[in-house]
Amino acid sequence: MYAPSFAAPTTVAEAVQLLANASGVARVLAGGTDLLVQLRSGVLKPDLIVDTKRIPELRTITTEGGGYRIGASVSGAEAGEHAGLSKDWPGVVEAVELIGSTQIQGRASFVGNLCNASPAADSVPALIAVGATAVIAGPNGEREVPVEEVPTAPGRTSLAKGEMVVAIKLPPKPARTGDAYLRFIPRTEMDIAVVGAGVCVTLDESGKCTAARVSLGAVAPTVLVVDDAAAALVGSKLDDAALAALDAAARAACKPISDKRGTIEYRTKVAGVLARRAAATAFKRAGA
């Protein structure tokens, strides 16, 4: 009968060593809101589960050079209560707070959401839009990569054996910059994104966009960075032509599947809609 090993190390070095030396399948448990569901349903039977919540440095949000370092086990609820983070990157915080119910919010984490590698992960397009990076610890020390380089396919990541993401780093917020994340679900809560869109823009003093990033979730095997959509915004004040170009670029980037949550046709159309709506919020926040 199935009986996995369970470890709860107190340092990153110890956790990395456990993961590196594991035989068979090893999984990291941060909040566990995806992992426990997978265990219960029997789709996943890891040989080793490494709980990272006892590692103190993974439980904190710290400021670093004007930006933020969010530990791997910080919950969505904790992120939502962090005044500075919520003020600087409201889109990122709103995205992580969309994950699950109030109870789930007490456990769900950015890093878990990222490493579960679902294309529908709510916080990931928001993180990508603001240019967040992932800090990865492994047997050969630490490395830092853009968030979009972590997931490689549904359920798969670029992490090597023994590696784990220990933190997400958000850059310092430039002046006149705003971010936003929107997702579409058929209900208002308790659901998984049919489409998600994260947008971040920086404006000049006249309100014209000087830099933008657009990211789409649930429309391809991994969360997309849509450079053409960003380009449609740069140089504009979000006029109708820019919105139309953004919509078209977002739709063009979609490579969705039809499944129980939405058809190819529907997902593609809604990606354009959400990109426009998220851009409008991001512009408003940047100008405020």
């Binding site: 579409f184 809560e189 308790m190 659901d191 129980k260 939405g262 529907y266 159309k269 809609v273």
Partner: protein, 760 residues
């Protein structure tokens, strides 16, 4: 005295705290999965992964060898049942089919159909045993959609099914179990006289009741053959009867103890696990506990039918509807017995029509066998009829409430299914809508308003109640109906009203099958009406006995004693001769006046008053995403007399919310192999609280003359109108008629795009 001359009521119509409330909010109440017996085993079910497959063989030898496994069973451990119509339940059923649905015998007929079960000392051992059972399947072609199942050449589920109700009798087997026709007058001639004819076809998806508590039971088969079952269901007597029949056990050998029920809505009016748990207990000699997972609930238990509804209505230019014709095709799931009969009978029941015809087809498909769901069948036909009536109102340029008022069924209207209505409140519910501020609220862009009315028969039936007066003058009321919608409170209130005491002094209990007289199940909106009637009757005979005891104490004739406000009072020539005797006084002296005071009433209640309701909903449609937001919702309903108004309102609100889910998002999604892809609440989307506004209610009261306090059933009517009301509101908002449920965001967006393309 009340204005109508009846005595003023002191308890009925008030809103006391429910007697089961504290247990439920503190978590102490024992629901199906909470119950335990010492030494119990864990029972689990192996289910077919195929939509349609012949079972060539089942090898259980490896499973039996798994350490900790105490019993393994298949259909071979159950008696073969000959075809016989079930005598209890809420829809047509056949015991042979019920047996087959509980455990597949020769063929698995749907993804999730039970094929074997095990009992083991742990869940892990039971899982290991399930994995070790080898079933040799011959996978057969399958059919999911109702109209696909009706075509020539469709995969046939049952070789022995020949369509009944057609002439001549068919010689070839078919998936159509039955055809039925209900008619009044000459429909074809009536259409000739119509100025306007609306004709359209509508489609609904099968939907699950979505009760929060999965099915669960514990069964113990003792060495002497006595069977104890503890389970959550809509009727302990129903469980007893079905288990007895399916396993060939005498009813006297079975005692069923009802546990709290966490929602049923019709879905717990039959057995799934109980017979299996009894067999496993018999084989293992240990108590066996079984509980479904949510996935099993979706794959293995019955939703209600999906169906197609073709409607044709004819009207005069002044809005008089003169002809109605409908064809309903309902899928029943794997065995015959969809609620197409009540679907037909309720179809045009809100209208006063002389010429009307409804044709129904009961069709089997490779889906779970349907179970009752609130007003079984009525919401499906109502979606078609009330959508078409809305189209008629638009065509005529008439207000939809005025059109309905002009044609509403009233006292004396003969319904297509036979009876002539007595006192009914259809018109009153429409007037209540007209007079409500929601109906005047202004609407913005992409917002719209929809109206629909609905009907349900309500039923009476067999019920028993026992009232025991305790030695301190308090009372216990025992009935045999699981309390789903606040019936303990209603029973206590009606007893308190008759006895003339505070409701807090009456303790209502739901007794096991050996402790109270027979009660038909909790369903059909019957309990407050029928079991309530038994409570009132038993309470009245207790009052008679109390008067007799007082007469004895005073040594006066019993005719000279009156019962007023919980006291015996000397009357007539003896008036004023003695101090009144309270219930407490008489109870305290009962040992000296003839012994304990108690009474039982068993009856078959007739005259359940039909129920009518009208709903009006305002929605806002996001044209770009197809999302429909419910802005306002008003449901009006005739409750006859609301015994406990809060629970009447709660029933109305709950029904409306389930209907909103049915309208917007709920559906079973199958892959091309006929396997259910969304067996969970994540992708089977019932509404969550944040999806909904407050559901406003207006309870109108047209008393039912056949109930002592005028009560009508209220639980089923409120799920009938919502789907059409929602479709009508969406039409009003964006000018598009949606004819297929659910009206989910992708479908709404597609319709918007098609409209835009058509306009270009």
């Amino acid at each position: 005295m009340a204005p109508d001359g009846t005595p003023a009521l002191k308890v009925v119509g008030t809103r006391p705290i429910r007697p089961d409330g504290v247990d439920k909010v503190t978590g102490r109440a024992q629901f199906g999965a909470d119950f335990q017996l010492p030494g119990q085993l864990v029972g689990k079910v192996l289910r077919s992964p195929h939509a349609h497959a012949r079972i060539r063989s089942i090898d259980i030898s490896k499973a039996e060898a798994v350490p900790g496994v105490k019993a393994v069973m298949t259909a071979a451990d159950m008696p073969e049942i000959t075809s016989e119509e079930a005598f209890v339940g809420e829809g047509p059923a056949d015991f042979k089919d019920m047996s087959g649905n509980t455990m597949a015998r020769d063929k698995a007929l749907y993804d999730g159909h039970a094929v074997a079960a095990v009992a083991a000392t742990s869940a892990a051992a039971a899982d290991a045993a399930l994995a070790a059972i080898v079933v040799d399947y011959e996978v057969l072609p399958h059919v999911i959609e109702v109209e696909d199942a009706m075509v020539e050449g469709a995969p046939i589920l049952h070789d022995d099914m020949f369509t009944s109700g057609v002439d001549p009798k068919p010689t070839k087997p078919s998936n159509v179990a039955k055809r039925m026709v209900f008619q009044l007058g000459d429909v074809d001639a009536a259409f000739e006289k119509a100025d306007i004819v609306i004709e359209r076809k509508y489609k609904t998806a099968p939907v699950h009741q979505g009760y929060i508590e999965p099915h669960a039971c514990v069964a113990q088969y003792a060495a002497d053959g006595q069977v104890q079952i503890y389970c959550s269901s809509q009727g302990q007597f129903m469980v007893r009867a079905y288990v007895a029949k399916l396993l060939g056990i005498d009813i006297s050998e079975i005692r069923v103890t009802p546990l709290e029920i966490g929602g049923g809505f019709g879905g717990k009016t039959l057995v799934y696990l109980e017979p299996l748990a009894v067999v496993l207990s018999r084989k293992s000699g240990r108590p066996v506990k079984m509980a479904m997972t949510r996935e099993e609930v979706f794959r293995g238990s019955g939703p209600t039918s999906g169906g197609t509804v073709w409607v044709k209505i004819g009207a005069k230019r002044d809005g008089t509807i003169i002809a109605g014709d409908a064809v309903l095709k309902f899928q029943a799931g794997a065995y015959a017995g969809s609620p197409v009969g009540p679907g037909c009978m309720t179809a045009f029941a809100v209208y006063d029509l002389q010429d009307v015809r409804i044709t129904g087809y009961d069709v089997v498909t490779n889906r779970p066998k349907v179970a009752a769901y609130r007003a079984p069948g009525a919401p499906i036909s109502n979606f078609g009829i009330e959508s078409a009536v809305d189209e008629l109102a638009r065509e005529l340029g008439m207000d939809p409430v005025e059109l309905r008022l002009k044609n509403a069924a009233k006292k004396g209207t003969k319904a297509a299914y036979g009876p002539t209505f007595g006192d009914i409140g259809c018109v009153e519910t429409l007037e209540a809508v007209k007079n409500h501020p929601n109906y005047q609220a202004s609407l913005g862009p992409n917002q719209g308003r929809g109206v629909a009315s609905g009907f349900w028969f309500n039923i009476g039936g067999e019920s028993s109640a026992t009232v025991n007066i305790n030695e301190d003058g308090t009372a216990v009321v025992a009935t045999g109906n699981p309390d789903i919608g606040g019936s303990r409170a209603s029973m206590a209130m009606m007893a308190a009203e008759v006895l003339g005491i505070e409701v807090e002094r009456v303790r209502p209990i739901v007794a096991d099958t050996s402790s109270v007289g027979y009660c038909f199940l909790t369903g059909g909106s019957r309990v407050t009406f029928a079991t309530g009637m038994a409570v009132v009757e038993a309470s009245k005979s207790v009052v008679n006995e109390l008067k007799a005891r007082a007469a004895k104490i005073w040594d006066i004739p019993v005719e000279a004693v009156e019962w007023q406000d919980g006291e015996a009072v000397p009357a007539g020539s003896n008036a004023g001769d003695f101090e009144p005797l309270s219930l407490e006084d008489i109870a305290a002296k009962s040992g000296r006046t003839g012994g304990p005071i108690a009474s039982t009433s068993s009856l078959n209640a007739q005259g359940a008053g039909p129920g009518f309701g009208t709903h009006v909903v305002d929605v806002e449609v996001d044209r770009e995403t197809g999302h429909v937001k419910v802005l306002r919702y008003l449901a009006t309903q005739d409750a006859g007399r609301a015994i406990h108004p809060s629970y009447v309102e709660g029933q109305i609100q709950g029904g409306a919310v389930q209907g909103i889910g049915w309208a917007l998002n709920e559906e079973y999604i199958y892959d091309d192999k006929g396997r259910l892809e969304n067996p969970g609440f994540l992708d089977y989307r019932i509404p969550v609280a944040s999806d909904l506004p407050m559901i406003d209610t207006v309870v109108v009261e047209v008393p039912n003359p056949r109930h002592p306090y005028g009560a009508r059933g209220v639980g089923e009517v409120p799920i009938v109108p919502p789907m059409a009301a929602m479709a009508n509101a969406i039409q009003d908002a964006i000018g598009i008629r949606l004819t297929e449920l659910p009206m989910s965001p992708p479908k709404v967006r597609k319709a918007v795009d098609e409209q835009a393309a058509a306009e270009e």
